[in-house]
């Protein structure tokens, strides 16, 4: 631009950018940064609910809240439940969404219809579709009627071995449309010539799928696995409603449900904050492991 009148610009060429971004930055400070710091502080102190403005002592208690959280078998159970959830949800999500996206990418006719059909559960409120699943999977529901003598006893959502898998199945079904969308975008980046060269070498559809499509969409797969993990760590509505608060006997309790129960129902926000911090670490560790795992396959 006007190189002759070069002035010192401490805020950059267009400092208005700072003004334009200021509301966002303030928002992030108030709604993300401060609460994260507050949560960590809370987890190291004896924190309890008081009337607003009341002056009370909140002594530093070191790792007490973490000890309380980590010696609680319910907490271990909740994290174990997320493990079960992830073992079912992640592979199912990846396989089904690659498969459906590849199929969708290939068709011309009725493409819009199929797209819309797959996204509808994703855009619908969990609470609404939970209601239908309760109806479908109840003791005397349609699913059990179709299965007849094969119906599980006790039924799906009150069976301690099946409650969590049923929730995992629900969440997979609910979110699949979003992941299909991600894979559809990724498929656009796969080079079409690669399919031809595999075909020239005599490779069939299956060979093409495994040697071109699957490696081609690997970045999307990493993202899908990461997002599915975050979804698992955030699980609340489904166990709260589908299995009446994580039943039977805690078989489908999630960490977030436990945070709600400990923090708000039982009025122990400090212990709940400690569980929250452990959960963040849990997510970070899983994300790092996945990056390592997926990254190694790539090289």
């Amino acid at each position: 631009m006007d190189a002759g009148t070069k002035r010192r610009r401490p805020f950059g060429a267009q400092p208005l950018g700072i003004l334009f971004s200021a509301p966002y930055l303030i928002f992030v400070g108030v709604v993300f940064a401060y609460p994260v710091i507050f949560a960590v502080w809370m987890s190291f102190h004896d924190y309890f609910f008081t009337a607003p403005g009341a002056q009370v002592d909140r002594p530093f208690v070191g790792l007490d809240n973490y000890v309380t959280a980590l010696t609680d078998p319910d907490v271990w159970r909740a994290f174990g439940n997320v493990g079960i959830f992830l073992i079912i949800n992640v592979p199912l999500t990846v396989v089904l969404s690659i498969l459906l996206a590849t199929a969708l990418d290939r068709v011309v006719r009725a493409r819009t219809f199929f797209r819309v059909a797959f996204y509808v559960p994703y855009v619908t409120a969990s609470v609404a579709v939970v209601a239908v699943w309760l109806f479908l999977f109840s003791n005397t529901g349609l699913i059990n009627n179709v299965l007849g003598p094969l119906a599980p006893n006790p039924s799906w959502l009150v069976n301690s071995a099946l409650a969590m898998p049923t929730i995992a199945l629900f969440v997979t079904w609910k979110g699949l449309g979003f992941y299909i969308l991600l894979y559809l975008a990724a498929l656009q980046n796969v080079q079409k010539e690669l399919y031809e060269s595999v075909a020239m070498d005599g490779g069939g559809r299956l060979r093409q799928f495994f040697s071109v499509t699957v490696p081609g969409v690997r970045p999307a797969t990493f993202l899908v696995v990461l997002l599915a993990t975050i979804t698992g760590a955030n699980l609340f509505t489904e166990p709260y409603l589908l299995t009446s608060g994580g039943g039977p006997n805690g078989a489908s309790t999630s960490p977030v449900l436990l945070i709600y129960q400990k923090g708000i129902e039982q009025q122990n926000p400090d212990v709940a904050a400690a569980i929250g911090v452990v959960l963040i670490i849990f997510v970070l560790v899983i994300a790092l492991l996945q990056r390592r795992f997926v990254g190694r396959e790539e090289s």
């Binding site: 966002y24 709604v31 089904l96 996204y119 991600l182 709600y260 923090g263």
Partner: protein, 275 residues
């Protein structure tokens, strides 16, 4: 040929699995008494009624719930559009110190699971600020959506630089540039962002559930959830009433999505998540 049959077979099977629960939701909401046999999925006209809608409306105020959901969602969309567009424009078009750090922050914030912040946010908003049972308290944590900022930035980046330089030489200020030049060109992005942000608060359950105890303030998702978990058992046709409520809650989002589905494309969503 054979592979095409397989492709369509897979897609049809998938579509059935995705759509059947919605069909069944509507059927269930219209049945006088629940018929869970296989034949019940295709009910006899004599077993049809609108009583379930009256029944659920008697227990939870559907209109009030819809209005609360609407205000909550509207507030979130307003904040997302106004401040998201400003931040997206600053990140894509303007050159200022701290720009790349701000963009890194936008990407980082997207990965922080909101639910992990629920205890400190609950303490701050409900206890310290006394904002429970208020629209402001409901809207605040969602007021600006980082994903929307990324989408806006992507769209503004695609506009040619020369356009802005030319307008600047003509003496247009940045606000004018944004309003008269950039915004009209990214109208589809605005619609995509509205659609994506609409889904969030309309379907959100946990946060409004935490901070609204007053039934007249609860969004429909919260009052319906309360109905499912505590009151349903005492109604004559609990599943019928639940389905009726589910239809009312699902209908606005599904209808909007059907009308605007062509704006709901893989590229927008993909860029929104990938950054």
């Amino acid at each position: 040929m054979r592979s095409r049959v397989v492709t369509y077979g897979v897609l049809t099977l998938g579509a059935l699995a995705f759509l059947f629960p919605f069909y069944y939701m509507v059927v269930g909401s219209l049945q006088t008494s629940p018929d869970t046999s296989i034949a019940g999925a295709f009910p006899h006209p004599s077993n049809l009624t609108t009583e379930n809608y009256t029944a659920i409306d008697g227990r939870i105020n559907l209109l009030q719930g819809l209005a609360n959901s609407g205000i909550f969602t509207g507030g979130v969309i307003l904040g997302t559009l106004v401040f998201g567009v400003l931040a997206g424009y600053a990140l894509a078009v303007l050159r200022w110190r701290g720009r790349s750090a701000t963009f890194a922050l936008v990407l980082l914030v997207q990965v922080v699971p909101f639910q992990l912040l629920m205890i400190p946010l609950y303490v701050m908003i409900a206890r310290d600020y006394g904002l429970s049972d208020s629209y402001l308290g409901m809207i605040l944590p969602f007021f600006i959506n980082s994903t929307a900022v990324v989408i806006f930035r992507q769209y503004f980046l695609q506009l040619p630089k020369e356009l802005f330089d030319a307008a600047r030489i003509d003496g247009a200020g940045e606000f004018r540039l944004l309003w008269n030049v950039a915004l009209p060109l990214v109208r589809p992005a605005l619609l995509t962002a509205v659609l994506l942000t609409f889904i969030g608060p309309w379907n959100e359950f946990l946060w409004p559930f935490l901070i609204t105890k007053d039934a007249t303030m609860q969004p429909l998702a919260v009052s319906l959830a309360n109905f499912i978990s505590t009151i349903a058992a005492s109604t004559t046709n609990p599943f019928g009433a639940m389905m009726a409520g589910a239809v009312v809650l699902a209908a606005p989002a599904v209808a909007l999505f059907l009308i605007f589905q062509r704006y709901f494309t893989s590229n927008d969503l993909g860029s929104g998540v990938k950054g």
